[in-house]
Symmetry: C2
Subunit: 431 residues, 2 copies
């Protein structure tokens, strides 16, 4: 059912290209509708947000105040959880917090020989909006992963929006929001929620940055408001790539591939192994295990459309192929996995060894599960505290320093025909 | 000529809003034409690049190889400079390099109680494309400021593109490219150059990230290829805001405002001072000095359209107004300027004291002159080494660690109805 390739196939390059090709096209009709909603909310504020929310989520809110969820309600949701969930989410939150605290950065200054002080000030962004998808895609782990870095960065105001179609609120989502330091939540979603965060309404003050995953309307709205506010990356379908030496149990690898494929029919799960017999074994595991999976229909489509088992000449070649893909998640399921890390330049997260399975990283290892997809690991990074910090350059030129620097600026500014620049620098020269 | 406001005016809020309002609209016709060019280059490669380059820049290139400028040619350009320019650009390059070296970051790992190793690997991006505008806007300082952070980050391949309308090459631009570690340059520009960098051609291998300023076509092309490659921010018009206690010579402040206004009719130059008499004095300096400026027409339009002198109740209020504007450049031209830094949350760069004039920062103080414009300093940072680094999470769960983490992942995955995630985690549990 899953396609099988070998790097020694004559048509490997062509089949591989097809496999990793992505349709990044955006539906212009969705864009048009999302933008119309954003413009309407920018104009009419709360009134428009309420109308869209009531219509799309089948609610009957009379006033935006009914959409507000306070920290007290989040705490109540946390307190109401059964002990195993309470313990699990608390442990995950703690581990995520500890990891992200290592990403905190301090400002610095240097002083040059003329006594000029130059430096970089680092501050948290003032306010952040967190989008949390509703319904079946309401993932508490995603709340932890998106809000915790902002909270650790020290963002004083974190507003969460989460649609509640039919009025159903996920207690786990609210518990996660409580643990991750969300200041306040609103039961609104879609392009209207993004617009409220970006433009502000009477009830919801505009934020400086918006993060979190969403459907095509949410993505279109985020693209539209980008520049007015900061946004995180617009994520593509999730991806896993496993490099295996053939000595991990085949069922483990099959299930690791399933764990990505079960997200979405467009998700991509690929195994690279130099062991052809192991490739066959994993293929048989897939066939045997698939019928036992609650999401077997999604997994089957995902593996058929976008999955592959690729037999490589050796592990070195597997690393080269992996780098071409630059995957979001990369498992190195081999002996001495450290050996291969330096061969792999591009990946969102690298899981080393047979016990380091993606699902642990998705929930509770500590590092963020919001990772660059669609080959963007070539130039971008996991979501982190750094995404909620901003830097300001500090320049304190002394009178003495100005005597050194102004003549240099003068020459360079004149070279660019910018005479006001040159003059303003030279005004600082002692006569 | 420059508008004068006072925060005590009855209509201050309305006039201030008009002053700082921005037209961020994008011309759809420019977008359409830029995208058509990008698609054509993606399809036809070098051939299309040559056609557009010959047409738009009035050249007669027969082959892309004629567009290549090697490092040897860059060095020759540097060697050919007169001594004052040579010395100035070398000093500027050195100071910029030293400052940016402080932005280098190291990866790290932590080990938890179960022996799990978690960390963050930091690597330079593989390749960067640097866009340098041509003609009158060919600024060597901009080459230094854009390329040096990439060079300091350790980017092994830095490709520069710079249009040469009519065949004119700026020796200062090439000298700056030499000092800033540019690997190779191409005399191409416009949307066609952005497309070549993003999609690659036979002669110019695709890069992972594109930075540098450009006209509306370049901006539209960058927006279009974003996602396929990384891009820097699309900058708005440049801005200066000066807070002055009234004790800096009025001519100095007037010239500082000019130095921003001379860039562009849309540039914004604003003075905030609690000293009404000083405000008048600066206004008179502006009127007196303006006729002496080579770019007086641009300065006059810029100050008339977007400039202002605002009298505030006190310096505290000046800081509050400044924060609303979140300016790209902020001069604190007062006694004890440090006192005010903590009052100012949002700015690209803060220049402290009467000798710290923006022109010094533009060329040679050391910090980057590519700064967030249009209020984006609320959530973004100066261009820096960090823009050319990418992080990868490292997750090495031990067998023992898996026994701790898998049960947590199991509970949380089941809470999200992701059974393959739960199963793949639990496979790692010892029976």
């Amino acid at each position: 059912m899953i396609r099988k390739l070998s790097t020694t196939d004559k048509d490997f390059e062509a089949r591989f290209s097809t496999l990793v090709a992505r349709d990044a096209s955006v539906d212009p009709e969705i864009t048009r509708r999302a933008e119309a909603i954003v413009q309407d909310v920018a104009r009419r504020g709360d009134e428009a947000v309420l109308e869209y929310t009531n219509r799309f989520d089948r609610l009957n809110l009379k006033d935006m105040s009914e959409a507000i969820v306070s920290r007290e309600e989040m705490k109540a949701a946390f307190d109401s959880l059964p002990p195993d969930q309470k313990n699990a989410i608390e442990t995950a939150a703690r581990r995520i917090r500890v990891f992200h605290e290592h990403q905190l950065e301090k400002g610095w200054t240097i002083t040059d020989e003329a006594g000029d002080v130059l430096g970089q000030r680092i501050r948290a962004v003032d306010s952040v909006g967190l989008y949390v998808p509703g319904g079946k895609a309401a993932y508490p782990s995603s709340v932890l992963m998106n809000a915790m870095p902002a909270h650790v960065a020290g963002v004083p105001r974190i507003e969460m929006v989460f649609p509640t179609p039919g009025g159903e609120r996920s207690q786990l989502v609210l518990a996660a929001a409580y643990l991750a330091g969300v200041s306040r939540a609103f039961t609104i979603g879609g392009a209207q929620a993004i617009a409220a965060l970006a433009y502000g309404t009477k009830t919801l003050e505009a934020v400086d940055k918006i993060v979190g995953p969403g459907n095509a309307y949410v993505a279109a709205a985020k693209r539209y408001v980008f520049g007015r506010v900061g946004i995180d990356m617009i994520a593509g379908p999730s991806e896993i790539l496993v490099i295996c030496d053939g000595k991990t149990p085949a069922d483990w690898i099959a299930m690791d591939l399933f764990s990505q494929a079960e997200h979405d029919e467009l998700a991509q799960a690929i195994l690279l192994t130099p062991d052809a017999a192991f490739a066959e074994e994993v293929s048989r595991s897939i066939d045997r295990l698939l019928p036992t999976m609650p999401r077997k229909a999604i997994i089957e489509k995902s593996l058929a459309n976008r999955g592959a088992i690729i037999v490589t000449r050796d592990l070195e070649e597997a690393c080269r192929v992996a780098d071409t893909i630059s995957p979001e998640h990369l498992e190195i399921s081999t002996e001495n996995p450290e050996k291969w890390v330096d061969h792999l330049r591009h990946a969102g997260a690298i899981f080393l060894g047979r016990w380091s399975v993606e699902a642990l990283g998705d929930y509770c290892a500590g590092p963020n599960h919001v990772l660059p997809t669609s080959r963007t690991a070539r130039f971008s990074s996991p979501l982190g505290v750094y995404d909620f910090l901003k830097r300001t350059s500090i320049i304190r030129v002394s009178e003495q320093g100005a005597q050194v620097l102004a003549p240099i600026a003068d020459v360079l500014a004149r070279g660019e025909h910018l005479i006001a620049h040159a003059t303003s620098a030279c005004y600082r020269l002692k006569k």
